[in-house]
């Protein structure tokens, strides 16, 4: 287990380094600078600005300065928010995004499991077909459309909830559903097909033959076995929640990291773009690492390999 884990960590660091380098290069290549504005700045002012942000130094120096900053957890100053550094902006907004992502993840798991179980157990029935239909629709519905639809129906027409606020638990309901719906649909469909396959396995028949209670057969034997394919998609799922979060934050005007990322892109606030991208990548790498560990734990064959 330990050597595999070490290999994964090295891989994760490699991914982070690639992203750091890539973002650095890409944003240097991108046309237009951070200080391009409609009125041209006087050359002296521009020179001072560039000196302040080390933009006048050779590109290799800038790169090394940037990397050593990251290693210390310092993403540099924001070009747009002059009073705060990028690290502080991220520290202030990340908890909001993490809360939203966590809620959506919980929502996806909690709704996918009963639906997937029911659909697989009553395979071919009306329930099954309804679940499949909802899952197909859910996968194809972009979250910005779902978000707008929910705001229109629940907030504007019915008036049950208010949209565009982020202060108490009720303001989190619609964003959570919006962000979690597609992962829920995807998970339910996956769990269904995985369970259907498992129900045909010999060990399930054996468990039934020896007179085990049906609920135990399903919940203990079949479900545990079906979890392995579910675990493999947890990494991409985490990615979907991360990148979905900035769309949902935009639609619902939630002050999270994603919304700052969007405005950083429009403002060409390079350090903020790079910082947020790196934090997202770090989260993704960690999620993949956890999934790998769980995967090794859940499947004894993989445990035995190492």
């Amino acid at each position: 287990m330990i050597p595999i884990l070490l290999k994964r960590v090295v891989h994760g660091v490699l991914v982070l380094w690639v992203v750091a380098t890539l973002t650095f290069l890409l944003l240097r290549l991108a046309p237009g600078g951070p200080f391009d504005s409609e009125r041209k700045l006087p050359p002296e002012v521009l020179a001072n600005l560039e000196a302040k942000y080390h933009l006048d130094q050779p590109i290799l120096n800038q790169y090394l300065l940037y990397l050593s900053g990251i290693a210390r957890g310092d993403f540099g100053p924001s070009y747009k928010y002059l009073d705060r550094g990028v690290t502080r902006i991220i520290a202030e907004t990340l908890p909001t995004s993490a809360l939203l992502g966590g809620l959506a993840f919980a929502f996806a798991i909690l709704s996918a499991f009963p639906v997937g179980l029911l659909a697989a157990y009553y395979r071919g029935s009306f329930i099954d077909r309804l679940c499949l239909l909802v899952a197909t629709l859910g996968i194809s519905l972009p979250n910005f459309i779902l978000g707008a639809l929910l705001i229109w129906a629940v907030a504007l027409q019915l008036g049950w909830l208010q949209a565009g606020r982020w202060d108490d638990w009720s303001s989190a309901i619609l964003p959570t559903i919006t962000l979690g719906a597609a992962p829920a649909a995807y998970l339910a469909a996956l769990l269904r097909s995985s369970l259907i396959e498992t129900f045909n396995e010999d060990f399930v028949r054996t468990a039934r033959a020896k007179g085990l209670k049906e609920s135990l057969v399903v919940m203990k034997h079949a479900l545990a076995h079906s979890l392995i394919p579910i675990l493999t998609v947890m990494g991409p799922l985490a990615a979907a929640l991360l990148t979905g979060s900035f769309v949902v934050e935009y639609v619902f005007a939630i002050p999270g990291m994603g919304r700052f990322f969007i405005s950083a892109v429009t403002d060409r606030d390079y350090p903020l773009i790079m910082g947020v991208t790196l934090v997202y990548t770090l989260l993704l790498v960690c999620a993949n690492l956890v999934v790998d560990m769980l995967y090794g734990y859940a499947d004894p064959r993989i445990r035995a390999q190492s």
Binding site: H11, G12, L14, V15, V18, V19, L22, T23, L26, L27, L29, A30, P31, T136, L137, I139, S140, L141, P142, N143, F144, I145, A148, L149, I151, W152, L156, A239, L242, T243, F246, V247, Y250, V251, F261, I262, V265, T266, R268, I273, V276, T277, Y280, T281, L284, V285, N288
Partner: protein
């Protein structure tokens, strides 16, 4: 027996239905200049935000432009982005995967390492960064999306080549002294097309989704007055702002996006069952 043929018949009808919708969307997009009832730039100052009527089937937007016309031209944008990205990713990814799988050994190992790293990247963010470099227009977005999504093809193609290399007819072609190029292009490629076509079908809706999402949040195609067509995502964003009083302005572009993505996904599922029964 009867149950089986019934399911395959219903699967076929889904395939045909989704294929028809996809065909209609593609046709409407490319025929937009000839079938649109109004000109794309046409403003009617007296008819702002009108609800659907006989003269404006989908109503008008905040500048008095006919929404049906804008949706038709928007189809052209979405289809171009979807098909274009898929083709770019197909060409890069498949040739990469073919070479990796066919060469094998250290080459394969090294090349797939690169693919692994690409797989670990947050796709959407890299796409946004690339679009900043290549420009926020259709061409730039196509390149950016293509560069992000080729890895899927590389993995599929490589896996398929590794399997196909074991086939007897490949062995016999080698034994008969066929050149490596001939073996790869004549014997292996045709046999691995099925899964690649399926991947292609699924990558079209994800490109359309990515483009419309970015345009909706205002960092996609940045050209709201383009004579070539405005992204459905941008149209939806316009509608989103006016949603409280004029929900029709967002309803039609949102429906267009949803129906298009849905029919491509259903088509992909059908094709997968048809061409690649192993992956079911």
């Amino acid at each position: 027996m009867t149950a089986r043929s019934r399911t395959s018949a219903s699967a076929n009808s889904w395939l045909i239905a989704s294929g028809t919708v996809v065909f209609i969307v593609v046709a409407l997009g490319f025929l937009a200049p000839w079938i649109a009832p109004y000109s794309i730039g046409g403003l009617e100052a007296k008819q702002l935000l009108e609800t659907p009527s006989w003269s404006h089937w989908m109503g008008t937007d905040g500048l008095g432009r006919d929404l049906f016309t804008r949706i038709l031209y928007g189809a052209r944008v979405s289809i171009t982005v979807g098909l274009g990205t898929a083709v770019i990713a197909l060409v890069i990814g498949t040739s990469y995967g073919l070479v990796a799988g066919f060469r094998g050994g250290n080459w394969d190992h090294l090349m797939m390492r690169v693919v692994d790293i690409f797989y670990g990247l947050p796709e959407m963010l890299i796409f946004i960064l690339l679009s900043l470099v290549f420009g926020r227009n259709i061409g730039g977005l196509l390149i950016a999306l293509g560069l992000v999504s080729w890895v899927r093809f590389a993995r599929i193609a490589r896996g398929q080549v590794l399997q196909a290399k074991e086939f007897l007819f490949v062995e016999s072609a080698n034994a008969l002294g066929a050149s490596r190029r001939r073996v790869l292009l004549r014997h292996i490629l045709p046999n691995i097309l099925g899964p690649i076509i399926v991947t292609l079908t699924f990558s079209i809706p994800s490109a359309i989704l990515a483009e419309s999402t970015l345009s909706f949040i205002g960092i996609g195609i940045n050209d709201p007055y383009s004579a070539w067509g405005t992204s459905w995502g941008t149209l939806a964003q316009d509608g989103y702002r006016a949603m409280r009083s004029y929900p029709h302005v967002i309803a039609f572009p949102a429906a267009a996006i949803f129906v298009t993505i849905l029919s491509f996904n259903v088509l992909g599922n059908g094709l997968r069952d048809l061409l690649d029964p192993k992956q079911r």
